[in-house]
Symmetry: C2
Subunit: 392 residues, 2 copies
């Protein structure tokens, strides 16, 4: 298998599986229990909390473990609206993950006012427009750090500063960034930040919300006194330990992601743009995640490309896995002004720790033929445009 869909989910690192297994097999107690077999687990929870806190330079007490990035995103916005009932406006962007877009749709039906900021054709944000869009009654702005479809990153530190100056809280969905970008919540100046472990070589079913110290917080999942009263439900010990281990590994791999993985992504992207005619990148070349490339293939449907890639053992996607099966074109690409045909003919390749150069070479070998087949001719390969007799 040639896996190029690391923005959808990542392989659970073998080291991470090893770290969590004892908490399934032997140490399966309830950490809230009074006896040693249970409460000894609290120490492992706190060690994992310290590790994920270190990944983002937070204080461990600022970490709330949740079940996923979606829950984290929902929680940050919900908390702010409940703790600031006089403010009824939420600002977000038109290219957020559906966890934000759909939650805001729901809030709008509940009587809140929502502003979805547009983006430029390269996927970037107009910060002047953002500043003008924050109103006195804006409770929170939620702006993603890195786009899951294009990899384009927003200047979160600047956005946080604008929000602060205008009196609104600021949340960033940073689900795509850990292990790719250095995260320092203190430098960023964010009030809330969401992460999801399964994008980071840990298992599904665990996420976190960073809540800046002294920020008023209203829990979303309400029950027992777990997570210092900020998230009910028996702690998912095995997955929390896994998240901690994955965070450690990610810190160690940051350099690799920004050199080796970036070079592989660039080789793949340049190779496709060079070898296959009528192709172009969606979104800015920079600033962008080191691992993501989103390519538009003219006159061909992504569905067909993905099917033939799959037959060749290559995993890629046409956007967020969370919206697969939808007949609508990507809301991210349409927000960037792509027409429907272009949005429907675009493929996301997202690389990761386990990709190798031979994976990239394999895609570059397979893809021209696939596109050519779908376009119904072999002229799609740029080499075929070259006059006969010239060197390649």
């Amino acid at each position: 298998m040639y896996y190029f869909d690391n923005n959808a989910t990542t392989r659970v690192a073998p080291e991470v599986v090893d770290a969590m297994l004892p908490f399934l097999r032997e140490y399966w107690g309830n950490p809230s229990s009074a006896y040693h077999f249970g409460h000894q687990l609290a120490k492992h929870l706190e060690e994992a909390r310290a590790k994920v806190a270190a990944l983002i330079n937070a204080d461990p007490r600022e970490i709330v473990f949740t079940s996923c990035g979606t829950e984290s995103n929902n929680s940050a916005i919900h908390s702010t609206l409940v703790t600031h009932p006089e403010k009824r406006h939420v600002l977000t962007t038109s290219v957020e993950h559906s966890a934000n877009i759909k939650f805001c749709d729901y809030l709008q039906k509940q009587g809140y006012e929502i502003t979805l900021l547009p983006v430029e054709s390269d996927g970037s944000l107009d910060l002047h427009l953002l500043e003008k869009s924050i109103r006195p009654d804006t409770a929170i702005a939620s702006v993603m750090w890195a786009n899951n479809e294009t990899g384009v990153t927003f200047p979160i530190e600047e956005v946080a500063a604008i929000c602060r100056s205008k009196g609104a809280l600021f949340h960033t969905d940073a689900v795509q960034t850990p292990g790719k970008v250095k995260i320092d919540v203190k430098e960023l100046g964010v009030d809330f930040l969401s992460l999801s472990a399964h994008k980071l070589h840990a298992p599904k079913g665990i996420g976190l919300l960073y809540v800046k110290r002294r920020t008023k917080y209203q829990p979303y999942v309400i029950g027992g006194s777990q997570e210092r009263g900020r998230r009910g439900g028996t702690e998912n010990v095995a997955n929390i330990v896994a998240f901690g281990r994955a965070a450690e590994l990610a810190m160690g791999n940051l350099q690799d992601e920004n050199t080796r993985v970036r070079a592989l992504r660039d080789k793949l992207e340049n190779g496709i743009l060079t070898k296959i005619s009528k192709t172009s990148r969606n979104g800015a070349k920079e600033p962008r995640l080191s691992n993501t490339s989103n390519i538009a293939f003219d006159s061909v449907e992504a569905e067909g490309i993905l099917m033939l890639l799959d037959q060749a053992g290559i995993c890629a996607s046409s956007g967020s896995a969370c919206t697969t099966g939808s007949l609508d074109p990507s809301h991210v690409l349409t927000a960037m002004g792509c027409n429907v045909a272009r949005a429907r003919g675009s493929i996301r390749f997202s690389l990761g720790r386990y990709n190798t150069e031979s994976d990239v070479d394999y895609v570059l070998k397979q893809l021209p033929g696939i596109i050519g087949k779908l376009r119904g001719n072999t002229l799609s390969q740029k080499t075929t445009h070259r006059p006969l007799g010239q060197a390649a």
Copy 2:
């Protein structure tokens, strides 16, 4: 270790660990993906869904996987309030799990009206009072099936019928029942039912909400189109598969729980009440879960008992693990009219699949000495009251 805290959490069955491991090690894809490596997982998700549906005689389409019982409970009440905005009253009982009590506290602060039904001294519910308490504006009644602290069960089928006749939806927190009680949602006539996998020898971090067909549903965790649009967030495949396997095993163990485990519980309870003076059961003898015994020890603090039990390798609890560390006496026992001293001197023993007769014998051997030591004398053992020379 002698584990008597199965209502807090249960050992993950080795068969369940085996079932989930391939989904951590090899099949770690995203089930919403378009390629085979990902979407093949959808089949495993649906198989697991069918297994948990079979456990409660539901249609698989009526199952929404969540992250825990707490999320399921919150979701049922929240959904009903959003889909019935004209109804502002919620009915529940004073002995519910904190997932309901604290969520209702929160709702009250948001302007909803809450009624906490009292219970009788044996922990039972006055159904006439329940019927009278349902108002035209009651959106939902949420009444647990089996109490986590005493094991006392409520007549859920009758409660559901009363709610139906009065036009309110009905949710039951059934977290403590699977594997102990036969669950048939069709016979019960409930609209919503919550389960948590880790009470059932599966790992933490996965639960479900049964939503009766044709019930209006508003998702709580809002994001992608997972769970047919009813719960966002990438599916926790490994834990869902584990839940399915645990449900299968639980169906096979129902007989064992109601014969062997029940006999062990009765032996333990009768042994304590006979061997140790000034002890009594909290809550009705029947109807009650087969595995739970809650005993009041006069003139002694549960904290001390638990500490000495722990030193002897015995795990038990003084109530819900979710409220451990709280200085307040159990809200369940105080709702039953226990005074503070009695509530603070009560211990819950909850048995399970892996308990043996020698576990029970060990507790019966250790406990009289522990209680005697804490009471500062050895007279607490009933045998010492017997005139010398008489047979035991």
